[in-house]
Symmetry: C2
Subunit: 114 residues, 2 copies
DNA sequence: ACGATACTTAAGTGAATGCTTCAGCAACAG
DNA sequence: CTGTTGCTGAAGCATTCACTTAAGTATCGT
């Protein structure tokens, strides 16, 4: 891709179970990199790389105080992905409704319910 | 990963702009593989591979009649991802509210607004 | 000052991804 | 029957991904 759109980065970031686990942890409150890495079966270096992906997608922001970097979720970034899904789903359901209505109108003599 | 969970596959599938374009097209109504491939700048073979990813994630189902495979979106698969995002976002917002309340209660003598 | 803590960066590796091309194959049109 | 359409499969290839290890760099506690 020539240019990465926000949604690309968001869905891409959330497609990895480790990163989703990090978001789930951060959804319960801010945490340091060490706290994030604690339960995960990998090096802190790997966790840092996942963190950069999440930050790159705008899903997480972090701030370093002293030697501790504290991370938290940016809820608005979740909203964008949420809205895309909601819009598509509603569009599908709407077109299914239209189909059902069409079938009902063009063949009123067949039984309406299964 | 040892085991791919439904959400892994869904977010993974949606992380690619081509596949999201396919879902957007299918959200407006069913389409054949050719119709899906039409506007996309790649071979139909590549589109087929994307379609398999979408089907593997349960986001799309298709049925072949004659030599034409007709595809449509499975709206319930979108709901799962939608709910995950909604749950996390609400959790974050809830913990931010708690923080705000805590700060307000523990330091009532400081000015409440910035 | 010294060591421990908490990150940070760089380089490397094996596997997965996103294509391509080419070669089928079944269904339909004439 | 023959050619075209619409899809399908396999192989190959460049890039990206998710790690690893190893070597930093700032803090912080004593």
């Amino acid at each position: 891709m020539l240019q990465q759109q926000p949604l690309d980065l968001a869905f891409q970031a959330l497609s990895d179970p480790t990163r989703r686990a990090m978001v789930e942890r951060l959804a319960r409150g801010p945490a340091s990199v060490s706290e994030l890495a604690g339960p995960l079966p990998m090096s802190m270096s790997a966790v840092m790389q996942h963190l950069k992906v999440l930050e790159g997608a705008g899903l997480v922001v972090s701030e370093k105080v002293g030697r501790v970097r504290t991370c938290r979720v940016e809820p608005e970034a979740l909203t964008a992905a949420e809205r895309w899904l909601n819009d598509r789903r509603r569009s599908v359901e709407r077109s299914l409704d239209r189909l059902g209505l069409f079938l009902e109108q063009t063949k009123p003599e067949t039984e309406p319910r299964e």
